[in-house]
């Protein structure tokens, strides 16, 4: 057994890691939560994925006992807790688990369509069924329990679907490289341009933009007014009101999304400004800019790449060709699931939880036990459960003030990237560990020369352009066409920015991270997982981005 040193603690970031927790290796999840999360998010949005993953590990018999989540001063840390077993037992467990999860690959698309997605939609239907403003306190309290329980179940489904999906893409990449050769990114050409919820949203919004162009009045409002003023301005004319009906229909179907992960972020139904901004951009585009055309081009390129690979595989044994076809089908299904699950669970379900929580917040604010409805996010789930049937019963304002102050004290403190005890050595090679590295990225390489950042190539191509550092979707008004989007991470609703940016550079993630996947769909260069991009790069810096080599140079 190798003794390892616990990671040194930052003196201004006290952490109380006791007993077994101190033996785990905690890594900050900057990819999903670059900033602090509020207490309720800590219990729900930040922790439910850990509980879901733990469930999925059990379903697929993974040699990992649990994914633990802890929140330190608002920052989210994850630890993988291994199974206690001898190396021989671990190898046997690993082999069995590989079989279990590989077995799921064969019917991935089918299971999503016929099993997982219908189950997800049934949960969402129940979660959204209560007429919140009219519900009694007792009904709201019961609904809160219902929603929280279903939210956990949804995160189990999330991980059951997503684990084999990412594994399929990761294994396909490795297989492709073994038989066809080339760079890692070449394999992903065969997975691009497949219709998903994301392309469905874009297509619907594009249709809406063509409707808008049919009315001079609506076109004028969309092209001149600030995004936030558009809904009110549309109400001023009959044509505007008719268009508003279409827009609301779009939002009803696709608006349960928000700018970033978490309960604190308003949905596009609450604040449609980000959707209206994309709509306004679309209105300024000619018919030829139809995103369906881009999708068709990507699909044609994909089919060519598939045909080339099949031709290359012609002299190979039938078993190799069959494996290729099976992995390709699984990876293509996985590519869609890896995108669509975000829509249904990460965003839709979270928004339904948010609406219930906010209703409680409003009732507490009305009863003056909270100062503001949004303060409800500073409560714990237990406090919320207690307040639900009787919002006037306990004054929660002091608790909120204290917790807000606690978080603010650490808002500007750089959180240590790791806590606890680092593992004695690298994990053994397995499909799981390879996938983990491709999703989260490997540790960024330390800069060897000034002005040079090294990450992973996320999407092919190289170009030079000015940087735009974006920390929140609200900053994106500043992003201009031709600029290079520099961000800690990009949440799925940032996707429209990829149509504007010339390239993308992120702090976090690997070749299978969402930022890399979307950059490939938009065919713009991306370098992911540089570790330091947002800390090093300033707005307007001239960057050379090379998505093939994963190198970013600050050249001016």
């Amino acid at each position: 057994m190798t003794l390892t040193q616990a990671a040194p603690l930052a003196p201004d970031f006290p952490v109380d890691l006791q007993d077994v927790d101190a033996q785990h290796f905690w890594q900050q999840d900057r990819m999903h939560f670059p900033g602090q999360v509020l207490p309720l998010d800590g219990e729900l949005m930040a922790s439910a994925p850990g509980r879901g993953m733990t469930h999925a590990f059990r379903v697929y018999e993974a040699p990992i006992e649990a994914m633990r989540v802890r929140i330190e001063h608002g920052y989210v840390y994850n630890a993988m807790v291994g199974v206690q077993a001898s190396p021989a037992e671990l190898e046997e467990l690993g082999r069995r688990s590989e079989e279990a999860v590989m077995g799921a690959l064969g019917r991935l698309g089918e299971r999503w369509d016929t099993e997982w997605l219908p189950a997800i939609r049934r949960h969402l239907q129940v979660m959204g069924a209560l007429d919140l403003p009219r519900a009694s306190g007792a009904a709201l309290a019961a609904h809160l329990d219902e929603v929280v329980a279903r939210y956990d179940r949804l995160w189990q489904l999330h991980m059951i679907a997503v684990l084999p999906s990412y594994l399929a893409m990761s294994e396909f990449e490795d297989f492709y490289r073994d038989v066809v050769g080339g760079q890692a990114l070449d394999a992903y050409r065969l997975l691009q341009g497949i219709p998903s919820k994301t392309t469905e949203v874009a297509a619907d919004l594009w249709r809406l933009s063509r409707v808008a162009l049919g009315s001079a009045e609506v076109t004028s409002v969309l092209s001149t007014a600030a995004s936030g003023d558009v809904p009110a301005l549309l109400e001023r004319s009959p044509e505007g009101r008719a268009f508003r009906v279409r827009l609301d229909e779009h939002l009803r179907r696709y608006g349960h999304r928000s700018a970033t992960w978490g309960l604190g972020s308003p949905s596009f139904i609450e604040d449609p400004a980000p959707v209206i901004k994309v709509l306004a951009d679309y209105v300024g585009q000619p018919d030829a800019a139809d995103p369906a055309e881009d999708l068709a081009r990507l699909a044609a390129d994909r089919e060519q790449a598939v045909a080339d690979a099949r031709e290359r595989l012609r002299p190979y044994p039938a078993a190799v060709r069959a494996q290729f076809d099976a992995l390709l089908a699984a990876a293509q299904a996985g590519a869609v699931i890896s995108e669509d699950h975000n829509f249904w669970i990460d965003f839709y379900a979270t928004d339904l939880v948010r609406q219930v929580v906010l209703e409680l917040g409003r009732r507490c604010a009305d009863a003056r036990t909270l100062s503001h409805p949004h303060d409800v996010l500073y409560l714990t789930l237990d406090e919320l459960r207690a307040a639900a049937p009787a919002p006037a019963a306990a004054d929660l304002r002091a608790v909120v003030v204290r917790r807000r102050a606690d978080l603010q004290a650490y808002a500007a403190v750089p959180a240590p990237p790791v806590l606890g005890t680092p593992p004695a050595g690298p994990p053994p090679d397995s499909p799981f560990t390879r996938l983990t590295a491709k999703f989260w990225g490997t540790s960024p390489q330390a800069p060897t020369e000034p002005g040079v950042l090294r990450g992973a190539g996320g999407s092919r191509g190289a170009l030079t352009g000015p940087a735009r550092v974006v920390r929140a979707l609200a900053d994106t008004e500043r992003l201009r066409p031709g600029e290079i989007l520099v961000a800690e991470t990009t949440a799925p609703p940032w996707t429209p920015l990829f149509a504007i940016a010339a390239a993308v550079v992120t702090d976090t993630g690997g070749i299978l991270s969402h930022s890399a996947v979307v950059a490939r769909e938009y065919a713009i260069p991306a370098v992911v997982g540089t570790g330091l991009a947002t800390a090093t790069i300033r707005d307007g810096d001239l960057l050379e981005v090379d998505g093939d080599t994963g190198i970013v140079r600050i050249v001016g």
Binding site: D174, F175, P317, A319
Partner: protein, 295 residues
């Protein structure tokens, strides 16, 4: 398959004989290897092919038309226009019981088109003058020029897996078990020793699989333009067995049947393609040092 060659069947003329043809089974005409294969064709599928057998070591140009016609016929038999073939020499005194002559002459794999096949056949004849073959013959006390040279032109089976099968254990000499070595792709990686194949031991009695070792098969041979190419086996397939149990038992049954027919232990080269099993070569085991069988 019957002989298409309209050539007289005298001992001192060139002939084209199809595998399976009775005369192709005469080692004095087609050499030990092709003759064995031809006789085996009565017992089991061999990849369709034909033998050019020529007195002396000079290829008569008149055979060219007969070769083109036979190659066309081969294409009809396997269902493609320009079937890939292997072209191999088979000396008339080769593969006799006294010496294994494997690998002493040129072999051309994955040759397609009548023109290219003629060129490869011509090269095979030329190779009989090559020094290494002459040295080999001299060392074994054989005549320096063979009385008759035969060249086998045979469909190159697009093998999913290939193997070498021994009807008796070539190491221990055990006569009651068949030993099967198999790996992905064409047989060159196994024969050439660049891959550690999977192996099975199957009892003659009841064809019970008694042992199985699945190896980490890193390399495999596939057809490539103008020949073959050794490529890496995809990581996730290297530890999958190249054969299923049914394929293993079928191969063992074939080895037992051929041993019975030949009257002594044999080694086979086999190719699996889709549902088909092809016999590529069958010869007596010449290195069974510890033969424990009663004589």
């Amino acid at each position: 398959m019957r002989s298409l060659a309209a050539l007289p069947a005298a001992a001192d003329v060139a002939e084209l004989l199809w595998l399976g043809d009775e005369r192709a089974g005469d080692p004095a005409l087609t050499g030990g290897k092709a003759a064995n294969l031809s006789r085996s064709a009565a017992v089991h599928d061999v990849p369709p092919g034909f033998v050019l057998t020529v007195p002396g070591a000079t290829l008569p140009r008149e055979l060219r038309r007969a070769l083109s016609a036979a190659y066309r016929r081969l294409g009809e038999l396997v269902g493609t226009d320009a079937p890939p073939v292997a072209v191999r020499s088979s000396a008339v005194d080769e593969d006799g019981l006294q010496a294994s002559f494997a690998g002493q002459h040129d072999t051309f794999l994955n040759v397609s088109g009548a023109e290219a096949v003629w060129w490869a056949v011509a090269r095979c004849f030329a190779s009989f003058g090559a020094q290494r073959a002459l040295d080999y013959r001299r060392d074994r006390g054989l005549a320096e020029a063979p009385e008759r040279v035969a060249v086998l032109v045979q469909w190159l089976v697009p093998a999913d897996a290939s193997g070498v099968v021994f009807s008796a254990d070539p190491v221990s000499g055990d006569r009651d078990e068949v030993v099967i070595n198999a790996s992905w792709g064409l047989g060159e990686s196994i024969v050439g020793g660049t891959v550690t194949p999977d192996s099975w031991r199957v009892a003659h009695d009841g064809l019970v699989i008694r042992g199985r070792v699945v190896a980490d098969k890193r390399r495999m041979t596939i057809a490539a333009p103008g020949g073959t190419r050794e490529v890496p086996v995809p990581g996730r397939m290297s530890r999958l067995p190249a054969l299923d149990d049914a394929q293993v038992r079928r191969a063992a049954a074939l080895a037992v049947a051929l041993e019975r027919r030949m009257g002594r232990p044999v080694d086979l080269e086999l190719a699996w393609a889709g549902d088909d099993l092809f016999l590529l070569q069958c010869r007596p085991i010449t290195t069974l040092h510890h033969d424990r069988s009663p004589r």
